[in-house]
Homo-oligomer: 169 residues x 2
Amino acid sequence: MRMSDTVEWAAHCCTVLGALPHDQALPAARLAEFHDVPPAYLAKALQALTAAGITESRPGPLGGYRLARPPAEVTLLEIVLAVDGAATAFRCREIRQRGPVAADSPRAYRQPCGIARAMWRAEDAWRAELAATTVGDLITELIATVPAAQLLRGAEWIKQVEITRRSRA
Amino acid sequence: MRMSDTVEWAAHCCTVLGALPHDQALPAARLAEFHDVPPAYLAKALQALTAAGITESRPGPLGGYRLARPPAEVTLLEIVLAVDGAATAFRCREIRQRGPVAADSPRAYRQPCGIARAMWRAEDAWRAELAATTVGDLITELIATVPAAQLLRGAEWIKQVEITRRSRA
């Protein structure tokens, strides 16, 4: 079982977008450059985030992606489900309904079996944990753990993108 | 993110094996027949369970698979990890170490970032829930929920397999 790598990219992008100055947006190409990831794949992830109402895309020469909601109102769970799909990892194939001793009536199978219920309980626990972390938490944690000089370098890089864009707009 | 279908098969097989009469074993082909699943794929899953010490394989004309431990001592987590692999679903690619504002020194990245830690917390919660269900629980739940007539049909099918094998042995 494997989560797609683009989930990690999306979570990092949301963290950067959540920390942007109020009036700034970042195009997908700049976000790809910032994280050194393939632009085409990242663009797909950003489109998924926008479709889920997590990011929004503004048109125009100073346009690009922004977080659609305050960082404290976007959970890691929403990002994971938007990019990796909302289906459960365990999908019950109801093999209990097959084979020589299966019941004739589908009524015998109205309740999910113990295996499926245990699997889904586990996924509920996983989702609850991811829902407890917001982009706001990730930003707070970055500020607390990344050296100030590196945070400044990040802020400076983002500022330079905007200065360059404004000079061309 | 998707769990392999063979995990469901393996969990059902362990439940059947855990409910076998004391001196009986079931060959992979009979387990595949019982669950109406492809024998070759099921055989791979059973080999993985045996490699993990969950099932054991006895040779000979009355041989086959048995649970290697009491049902109450085999957890659903062990079955999932044996068949689907023990790697975490989220694999941190450390993209924070890439791009124009990454730190020069690897020392800056000794601690995992907040995204990775939240992902792994969620997987720990998922694993804890799966570790809380044993094959013994699954058998207890089957006995409590499956109609007696169907349980008897299952027991009868398993008994007939043994009778047929003994008549040929």
